[in-house]
């Protein structure tokens, strides 16, 4: 394998091309690799398909000749990305979270450096490593830290208990410390073990982390059961939307550069969209309109002056009416 800036005997960096036609999926994988770099140093350099040592390809319905060529090309390491499980040693599924993606690339990196597979990813799963990552982010503005399936509600016939099930080995205190360092946090609840719909649910524990979570995203977007359950719990409304809208919404945010997104695990794009949809469901305002477009009748440069004056005149009259009535 040839590389202009790296070679496989070097432990430093390798050229990667995420060769996926779906821009959102492509972005997800690339974000995971960037997070890997933040955790472990700059191991992966993004480059073109031609110059890549490693290519991420899809062998699904939309497989391309490029992908097949890459898989059959001994000069490139291939990573297969797709719904259909293959026997490929480095297969990633679209439903996987950043941890799965990083695990695959950790295996690759370990192999390239004659280490045992999974050696690199093991370090990520340690609490110290995770805290180190968050400390790096602590001073960074507009950081969205997203977790998937972090919290499990357990109902033991008397009360609900909250258990943090991921990241592994984190105590509640440690988790609280972690979250308090974030600008903005999102959690996703897994399904309660059992729920008695007839009981009034008291969540003492929730007051604890309501202080930590500005907003909480709940349930999977397609999960009607969760929707019913959480409605019983009087949680904030969650609008169910098709996945295409998720993609559009997240694309809008990414394009605006409003957030750097770091995913620890889970379907971050769904969670992020849910958070914003919760905010905006209160307003009945189109999500994309608010994020990407000026308000209607804005006094923008494209409007003629007489129209602007007319609008301001109406406003002034309205204000005068309020004043007289007060």
């Amino acid at each position: 394998m040839q590389s202009s800036s790296t070679n496989l005997s070097s432990p430093k960096a390798y050229n990667v091309c995420v060769h996926l036609s779906d821009s959102i999926e492509k972005r997800r994988v690339e974000l995971s690799l960037k997070m890997f770099n933040k955790l472990n140093g700059d191991h992966w350099l993004f480059t073109t398909f031609e110059e890549a040592d490693i290519v991420v390809i899809s062998l699904d319905e939309n497989s391309t000749q490029d992908a097949l060529d890459a898989k059959n090309n001994s000069d490139k390491i291939t990573v297969v990305y797709g719904k259909e499980k293959t026997d490929h040693p480095w297969h990633m599924s679209p439903g996987g979270g950043a941890d799965e993606f990083m695990s695959v690339f950790s295996d690759i990196y370990a192999s390239l450096n004659n280490q045992k597979p999974s050696q690199a990813v093991a370090s990520f799963n340690s609490f110290d490593k995770l805290m180190s990552f968050f400390n790096q982010l602590k001073n960074k503005k507009n950081t969205l830290i997203s977790f998937g399936n972090d919290i499990q509600l357990i109902y033991d016939s008397k009360e609900y208990k909250v258990e943090f099930i991921t990241p592994k080995n984190l105590s509640m205190e440690a988790y609280a410390t972690l979250l308090s360092s974030a600008d903005f946090s999102v959690a996703k609840f897994s399904e309660p073990v059992s729920v008695n719909h007839n009981e009034t649910v008291q969540f003492d524990s929730f007051s604890f982390f309501w202080k930590l979570f500005q907003f909480i995203s709940i349930g999977a977007a397609s999960d009607e059961h969760n929707k019913t359950v959480y409605k019983q719990m009087h949680w904030p409304p969650l609008t169910m939307v098709p996945h295409k809208e998720h993609d559009l919404a997240i694309s809008a945010l990414l394009m605006k550069g409003s957030f750097d997104i770091y995913t620890i695990s889970g379907k971050a794009r769904c969670q992020l969209e849910d958070v914003y949809r919760y905010i905006l469901s209160c307003l009945s305002i189109n999500f994309l309109e608010l994020c990407t477009s000026p308000a209607s009748e804005a006094l923008n440069k494209n409007q003629p002056d007489d129209k602007k004056v007319s609008l301001l005149g109406k406003l002034f009259q309205k204000l005068q009416q309020i004043k007289k009535g007060s």
Partner: protein, 173 residues
């Protein structure tokens, strides 16, 4: 048309919008996670409307005060025609507060789309001399914005500020 109210925590943004809005204000108020002397604080936005003649409307957005929600400031500022910065006069350094918001909203401010409301004054009629420090600051920043003492609970007071802003925008069309 869209106006954005911003300013420090407790300056009266939510209250001012509630005072003049034609619709029940939609608020995202939660218990604060920081050590504030408030029961609740805005965590995403406040939203109210003024219904104008012939179906037009003025959208009133209130931002969260804390800088950790600054990402919402940018989102809410998109397409805004006017900005109102409310300054709590009883805070230790109100001019520094004003400076923080002017700096953070600088990319959206033009020479005519800003008004400053000074809140938490014991007697708004005695404020003239005290307002000079805000004017001096704005002059130093080359900004010619109206500065008015207001009581966010009083409709007449809030509308006066909005009218000042309206006129300021119109004059510079």
């Amino acid at each position: 048309m869209k106006f954005v109210f911003t300013g420090c925590v407790g300056s009266g943004k939510t209250e001012a919008i509630k005072t003049v809005s034609d619709i029940p204000v939609i608020s995202t108020e939660e218990k604060p996670s920081d050590d504030l002397e408030k029961q609740t604080t805005t965590v995403a936005l406040d939203y109210g409307e003024l219904h104008l003649a012939q179906g037009s409307k003025l959208e009133l957005y209130g931002t969260p005060g804390q800088s950790r929600f600054a990402y919402m400031w940018k989102i809410l500022s998109e397409g805004a025609s006017g900005f109102i910065i409310l300054v709590n006069h009883k805070r230790p350094s109100p001019v520094e507060d004003l400076d923080m918001y002017v700096e953070n909203f600088a990319e959206y401010l033009t020479e005519s789309n800003l008004a400053v409301g000074v809140t938490h004054t014991d007697d708004i009629n005695l404020m003239t001399n005290e307002l000079s420090k805000y004017y001096e600051y704005l002059k130093h920043k080359n900004i010619s914005a109206p500065v008015l003492p207001i009581d966010p609970r009083d409709a007449s007071s809030v509308t006066t500020l909005l009218q000042a802003l309206t006129v300021s925008i119109e004059q510079n069309l």
